[in-house]
């Protein structure tokens, strides 16, 4: 139970960190979506259930601070969880750096397309006052995010792998003793 509470606090902190810290820096605003990186990492490295919980809590908070209609971010974060869980079902059995990168790239594209499509759809129905515009700046943001997300998720994988190897050897030694 305390582990679950800690996980929820972690999700909330990551989300607020992105809104109030990372986005304060204009050069990071269009390059990094920390929430998406954390979501992919948790879905692939932990499991899809944890990823789904992450998507729901983070999506709800993002929607409260979003200028769009409620539900857009919630939906846009849940979709990648389902897609990477089903698309990479076989690959997820072996958690390699390539699986993680493929999942991060797919999720970034799906998330951005979902926000663009849903915000525009609701804009046409007058549910949204503003919409995402498909322009060169949007495509640049997507491209920048694809590159930075690949780099960040690779670094995260290497660190996790290194730490888990270290921990594994420690446990093996203690077992032998």
């Amino acid at each position: 139970m305390p582990r679950n509470i800690l996980f929820i606090i972690f999700i909330i902190l990551i989300t607020v960190f992105q809104i109030s810290f990372l986005f304060e820096f204009s050069f990071l605003r269009n390059y990094v979506n920390l929430i998406l990186i954390a979501l992919v990492f948790i879905t692939v490295m932990v499991n899809s259930k944890a990823g789904l919980i992450f998507a729901i809590i983070s999506g709800l908070i993002l929607d409260f601070y979003s200028p769009f209609s409620f539900g857009i971010y919630l939906t846009a974060l849940i979709i990648p969880v389902f897609i990477i869980t089903n698309l990479f079902k076989k690959l997820l059995a072996r958690k390699t750096i390539y699986t993680l990168i493929a999942a991060a790239l797919t999720s970034t594209v799906i998330f951005q397309i979902a926000v663009l499509l849903i915000s525009n759809l609701l804009f046409w129905f007058n549910w949204n006052e503003i919409n995402y515009t498909l322009n060169i700046e949007y495509l640049y943001t997507l491209l920048r995010q694809l590159i930075t997300h690949t780099i960040i998720i690779s670094i995260l994988f290497i660190i996790t792998n290194f730490l888990s190897e270290k921990l594994k050897s420690k446990f093996l030694i203690s077992e032998r003793i």
């Binding site: 304060e24 979506n33 789904l52 409620f70 006052e129 503003i130």
Partner: protein, 271 residues
């Protein structure tokens, strides 16, 4: 129900139904207490993160300044370094209080009602120029109210508000449109539109009117709740094409929107 939860499609159906229910509840304002509570609880955390980011920004500015100082005066560098780091926190507070007093002076001299607040975050949509203000409906803020900085520089309008926070649409967002006038002899009218966070452009300026670089641009007062003559920026470039009905002007804002920290919302008198 258990069977439904075990199948993949069952989970998808439950989630879609859940999202739809939440959206309907939100639109029916049933989720307002939840939203208000969440934003109220998260406000101190947001302030903490935002202030930390502000300090880091100040620190990077400080290092840039130090580079210049280094060239000018190497001997004083160490002393300046020590003093600047010591006074960093103090400077931030002083800066905040100066901004507050400038905004207050503007407000009192123009006899407006107002409420000041801090920017505690940015909108979740990366490409939109929307910031989050730590004041909401409980402070008298409503949709459409103008937001100013320093001694009366218009930077945006309130887009949405709940009891705890407000979302401010900055003038440089491409969804922003505001009626303005140029401070020349003709008081040339036009509409200022944002350019994807990059600049401001004033459109629909009658072709026959004389405008030039450096002229001040202010609000026209034609829009509800936005008083006239609030400074927006100055003309940076004039775009005049023969045969067109209107001319355009690129406006340089009087304030760098990346440095937003303390802002004031102008309320209608006796709101």
């Amino acid at each position: 129900m258990k069977k439904l939860l075990k199948s993949r499609w069952g989970i998808i159906v439950i989630i879609i139904a859940g999202i739809l229910i939440l959206v309907v509840l939100y639109r029916a304002n049933v989720l307002n207490p939840v939203e208000n509570s969440v934003t109220y609880i998260l406000k101190p955390v947001q302030s903490f993160f935002s202030e930390t980011a502000g300090k880091i920004k100040n620190l990077s500015n400080y290092f840039q300044n130090t580079e210049e100082l280094k060239k000018e005066n190497d001997k004083l560098k160490k002393q300046i370094d020590e003093l600047t780091i010591k006074n960093l926190g103090l400077e931030q507070k002083l800066e905040d209080s100066q901004i507050f007093s400038e905004e207050l002076e503007f407000i009192t001299s123009h006899q407006y009602d107002s409420v000041s607040g801090k920017i505690i975050g940015y909108s979740t949509a990366e490409n939109l120029q929307i910031v989050i203000l730590n004041k909401g409906q409980t402070h008298g803020i409503k949709k459409g109210y103008p937001v100013i900085v320093n001694n009366g520089i218009l930077i945006g309008k309130i887009l949405e508000t709940n009891s705890q926070i407000s979302k401010v649409l900055l003038l440089n967002d491409n969804h922003s449109e505001i009626s303005a006038i140029i401070q020349n002899e003709d008081r040339s009218p036009g509409i200022i539109e944002g350019q994807f966070g990059l600049s401001l452009i004033m459109d629909f300026i009658p072709q026959d009117q004389k405008i030039q670089k450096g002229q001040l641009v202010t609000s026209s007062g034609l829009e509800e709740n936005i008083p006239a003559d609030i400074v927006i920026g100055e003309i940076n470039e004039v775009i005049k094409i023969d045969g067109q009905l209107f001319q355009q002007a690129i406006i340089k804002p009087s304030f760098n929107y990346e440095l937003l920290n303390i802002v004031t919302v102008i309320l209608p008198i006796n709101a």
